[in-house]
Amino acid sequence: MAETAKLLGTKGSPYSHRAEVALRLKEANFEFLHEDLAHKSDMLLRYNPIHKKIPVLVHGEKSIVESLIVVEYVDEAFDGYAILPSDPYERAMARFWARYIDEKVIPAFWMSCWTDGEMQKGFIAQAKETLTTLEGQLKGKKFFGGDSIGFVDLAAGMVAFWFGILQEVAGINLLNEEDYPVLCRWADDYCSIEPVKESLLDRKLLVAHFASKKEKIFATKAPVYD
């Protein structure tokens, strides 16, 4: 479809990032529509009435939501760069690890940042385990996708860029070169890829954003991505 796609998202959101990088990898024609999550647009409410969240990809009359579903759709609907591998087993592994990132890696790290006391210790232990497991998946490869970035790399974008920022604001030191040399090297390589670089906000801005929302996040544990 030659029509310009519209991506409703925010630069502060790692989920929006996944969708944006996917579109950039495909060199797709798209327009980034920045959402103010405190005042959700009519467009967002119309195209994602159930969850009212970003990212939302509007492609012609169709709307696609949920970041990993958007990435798979972009992979299938647009020609060019292959985001998922072609082999069914490799695809299954990519989907498995992307889910692992969403269900285990991100929640453990997030809660490590925004809790204290015994609860925090528990989350930190979990976060360390999940980071070790994730790092193990790189297995001598440059990226999770092999020589070039793929589905799991996009899913792990939050690890590559946001984790360092969150831990800085929270005052903890989980993801560091000493403990996770392979994962940290991957993070640098991932963030250097052109389409990724183009989609990332200036680090200082993101640090300032999370620092300003720190108390609110600590109280609610809910993310504030815009």
């Binding site: 492609h59 579903i69 759709y73 299938e76 609907a77 069914p88 087993y89 299954a92 498995f96 889910r99």
Partner: protein, 232 residues
Amino acid sequence: MAEDELKLLGMWASPFAIRVRMMLEEKGLSYEYIEQDLLNKSELLLKHNPIHKKVPVLIHGNRDICESLVILQYIDEKWSKTGPPILPIDPYDRAIARFWAMYIDDKLLPSFIGFMKATTEEAKAEKIADTRTALELLEGAFKKCSAGKDFFGGDSIGYLDVTLGSQLGWIETAERISGAKLLDEAKVPLLVDWAKRFLTLNCAKKTLPTVEQLEKYARELQVTRWKVATAN
């Protein structure tokens, strides 16, 4: 093990395992089913799903595939020429199917399971309301996906049919325990008809436990695991 041998580690009451069995039956694929005791996890389970230690696990030759929805897509792609497709062909229709499968597992299932775990009347009422809301949305999804045909997948069952179909016994169990109608003809007539049709299929009859078995199991869980009821 031979390169193309299939084994499935499952548990009789798990909708996640049941849906994979349904699809293997539908595709006419032969496999060895190995029932797992989840309270006493076997070496086999821990070896083939070391990360989550859960069912289902599809063992295909020397490869392990975990997570039910990942397994369904693997079966679809590996045996794309055998039987009808599991996911639709069109990328947008596939995205819709993936969205609703996620919704069924993330919103619907936790609602009716949550009801069975609830301790206060208020919490129970909330979970029942959540279940009904989810089913009403799925009624709309059925209308859109089926486009007037018998199943979410059209003429034959697909991804969403087994994802939701594998939970039908549990939904009825929740209805019996709560006394509340969830799959209500007045509210979700299309889903009620779809459920009746689905339950007549071979793949459903072969894999779904009876509601009597599930109710007994659920009530046991309420006492022993969830601790929301006492044994009488």
